[in-house]
């Protein structure tokens, strides 16, 4: 399931809904991303997340479908916020439920890595020097590329 929203989310309620009623699920791995107060060595007071409505949902849906094709997953969830956020705020939740622990770990890691390189979101941070657009990190591209070699969980 894909949710793109400006409001915050309730992790406990979202994970409970994800696994509710499916007793074949052995584990749920989730990742929650937060706004940090530091970018490089500059202090960040707030940020705005801009996105491309329509394409965002399409890309997240594509990435989710790829994970579901690759690992045995009972359910997946991606929630990504947009709009004004401040340090400590939740930005993103990715969760994967599976009968198998390792599949849920790998799929969750895959989803967040690809989301970071494909989902059309842009962060603008507010620092003492004024607002600035965050530059993409080469390490994110590298993290995503390691999934290019098919190597599904046992």
């Amino acid at each position: 399931m894909i949710k793109v929203q400006s409001q915050d989310f309730d992790i406990g309620a979202e994970l409970a809904a994800l696994s509710h009623g499916d007793t074949t699920i052995g584990g749920v791995t989730s990742f929650v991303g937060y706004v940090r107060d530091l970018a490089g060595d500059e202090s960040v007071s707030a940020m705005t997340l801009e996105h491309y409505p329509g394409m965002t949902e399409k890309m997240l849906g594509d990435i989710e479908a790829r994970a579901q094709a690759r690992w045995p997953l009972a359910a997946t969830l991606i929630i990504h916020r947009y709009g004004d956020l401040k340090p400590g705020d939740r930005i993103v939740l990715v969760a994967c439920a599976s009968a198998h622990r390792q599949a849920s770990f790998e799929a969750c890691n895959f989803l967040i890595d690809w989301l970071k390189t494909e989902a059309p979101f842009w962060k603008q941070e507010r620092t003492a020097a004024g607002p600035r657009w965050v530059e993409s990190r080469a390490t994110d591209a590298t993290a995503a590329q390691r999934w290019q070699t098919p190597k599904p969980a046992k």
């Binding site: 491309y52 394409m55 930005i91 993103v92 059309p120 962060k123 657009w133 993409s136």
Partner: protein, 83 residues
């Protein structure tokens, strides 16, 4: 066709989106970028370095040699930084 600009491409062009008629002799995304550059300093600054610009046609990532046609939704934006 509909053109969309995000993040600093929006700031530099001064536009979030616009509707234009397919310009003459524009067949690909690259042709379109060349045409846009000639519209003024904001546009030439936005499309100065295509290594840091991504393009999507109808909400799918494309290369610069991808064809464009009337009715397409074409978006330009920097490498993404969500998550």
């Amino acid at each position: 066709m509909k053109l969309l600009y995000f993040a600093w491409l929006r700031t530099r062009t001064g536009l979030g989106e616009e509707e234009i008629a397919l310009p003459q002799d524009v067949r690909t995304v690259r042709d379109l970028v060349d045409w846009l550059r000639q519209r003024g300093p904001g546009f030439s600054a936005a499309f100065e370095n295509m290594k840091v610009v991504r393009a999507a046609v109808n909400q799918s990532y494309v290369q610069l040699d991808h064809p464009v046609s009337e009715g397409d939704e074409i978006a330009f934006f920097p490498p993404v930084t969500g998550g």
